[in-house]
Symmetry: C2
Subunit: 327 residues, 2 copies
């Protein structure tokens, strides 16, 4: 059962058809990046409308069982999530409120510093804040909102892993130890230390074809991508590796500027070189079968391929999307 732990496509039937063609049972879709609470609720509402209008292809993804059900009847379950904690507006009660509204995963930070922690554009001095950051993690643990540190800096990632009593996810990032420093956004990738601790927490890392963080960028071959999977499996175990493509499509300049600078800058603070080209074999988000086939050829067993393709995410989502039973 195929799960993509992060896509940021502009919601449109064309994309949903691509998911169907690729056989994706579950996809984690982003509804907030800099948005505040109200703006995010509008996005949640938009997805509700789209789910209804495209019920032949989609269903709501509030649980691992929703994804399994979607996989069984050939649809895609959409798990809503944030790439930033901005929608919570420093209000702990909004964590539970957004969980009620169907949101299941949230990054503590996008690329910059916020009241909870610091993103990967900020260097490593700032970490999880001792005030709200700690409390936010406790509240996400309590209600069953998965903590995602994909874009957090090293220090925030480590301190979140230390603070969280439940498994922490890295929905979309690659091992810096494998990819190296010669990619455009090398600092977005994760150190071996963070990956190991995420695995120790019970977490999963979703490996990405996003050219700015993938080995050899847009020239990343299926073989290289599978080498990266093998590296990560060797490092943290096959139970902790999954897919998280970071695939996006359909957005124009306006959206790209929003992602890079929100309203907090008047100009991009990292280069915007236009929408990226994904590797050709992944075009239109269709590269999953190729990857899985290649893994089998490399000697991964069927059960290992099943874990990597979606089984690990299903296990983590199943346990993580529900309230902490100790509370």
């Amino acid at each position: 059962m195929l799960v993509d732990a992060l896509q940021f496509v502009k919601p449109a039937r064309e994309r949903f058809e691509e998911w169907h063609a690729a056989g994706i049972a579950g996809v984690h879709a982003t509804v907030a990046i800099w948005e505040d609470s109200t703006e995010t609720m509008r996005e949640v509402g938009r997805w509700q409308r789209l789910l209804a209008e495209n019920a032949d292809l989609l269903r709501e993804g509030r649980s691992a069982d929703d994804i399994r059900a979607a996989g069984s009847d050939g649809r895609t379950a959409v798990v809503l999530g944030f790439q930033n904690s901005s929608p919570f507006e420093d209000d702990l009660d909004l964590v539970g409120a957004f969980h009620q509204a169907g949101v299941r995963i949230a990054q503590l930070t996008y690329n910059t510093q916020n009241s909870a922690g610091a993103g990967c554009w900020e260097g490593d001095d700032a970490g999880l804040s001792r005030t709200y950051g700690i409390n936010l993690i406790r509240e996400m643990n309590r209600v069953g909102m998965l903590i995602d540190v994909s874009h957090c800096n090293e220090r925030t990632s480590l301190e979140a892993l230390e603070a969280s009593e439940r498994p922490v996810a890295i929905t979309h990032a690659n091992p810096r130890g494998f990819v190296g420093e010669n990619v455009e956004l090398a600092f977005r990738n994760k150190s071996d230390t963070v990956l190991k601790k995420a695995a120790e927490s019970g977490g999963v890392v979703g490996l990405s074809m996003y050219p700015r963080i993938a080995p050899s960028g847009v020239d990343c071959t299926v073989a290289q991508f599978c080498d990266m999977i093998a590296y990560t499996v060797d490092l943290i175990g096959v139970e902790h590796v999954g897919l998280g493509s970071d695939y996006y499509a359909g957005q124009g300049d306006e959206e790209l500027h929003w992602w890079r600078q929100g309203r907090w800058s008047r100009k991009p603070m990292v280069p915007i070189s236009g929408p990226v080209e994904f590797p050709e074999w992944f075009a239109a988000g269709r590269g999953y079968a190729t990857v899985l086939e290649h893994l089998r050829k490399r000697g991964f067993s069927e059960s290992e391929v099943e874990l990597i393709s979606g089984g690990n995410w299903l296990r983590m989502f199943g346990a993580g999307f529900v309230a902490d039973s100790r509370n």
Copy 2:
């Protein structure tokens, strides 16, 4: 002409009468501490209504001339300001919008970390963010919104002083070098380094009778307070020292909890020992004349007393509340 660079009283005619009795020509009043943009606009509107209803005692304080005019006709000019950058919601355009609405001073942070920097409860690892923090300072410089680092941690204060091209204010804090570590919130006070750099920037520090940061706490005598003034004058020069009482009155438990924990904590993260008692000689915000008289007795000249009592703030507000002429 007497200027108090920070009071956080609950707006009520009783307070305005106290200001009148104390002869305060200008007071910087707080309209936001954790509030977002909309909540803050409601506070701004409330003050507009109160200014109209109490026009015999108050007038709007959008400029140093407004304060001078208030001083001349025995009223108090109210300068609106933020103790946090939360009302800007990481939107640079809101800086100019709030300036238009009459807001003239904003702290980058209250006590905790946010997207711009870090407050004094966070330790000193996090500083001014390289992304929004830098841009916020540029924008405040541009539109004529005074940057205040009173509650920022050491690092954020220093980095803001480095980044700002215009003078930076410390509206309400005391010199840690004089007060020492034996007060409840010693970490709220400012190092000699920060005070010196603020003065070098052209800024002013407002010294406070707030017992949690004042020498000997609630037992602080007028003599001790004036010793602290003398220490600060010796350290950074008489042109950079003013008053900023941090006086508050009229709030109940609900407001105190809001100040201490906003919505980001379910319990206070520093002890809340109830509303503080200010030193008896300052009761009801009436201690200014006593302080100024004491300064004269100590040998401060009339012109020095005039600078400390309000002249320095008038100079800084006069230059700082207007758009940067270079833009």
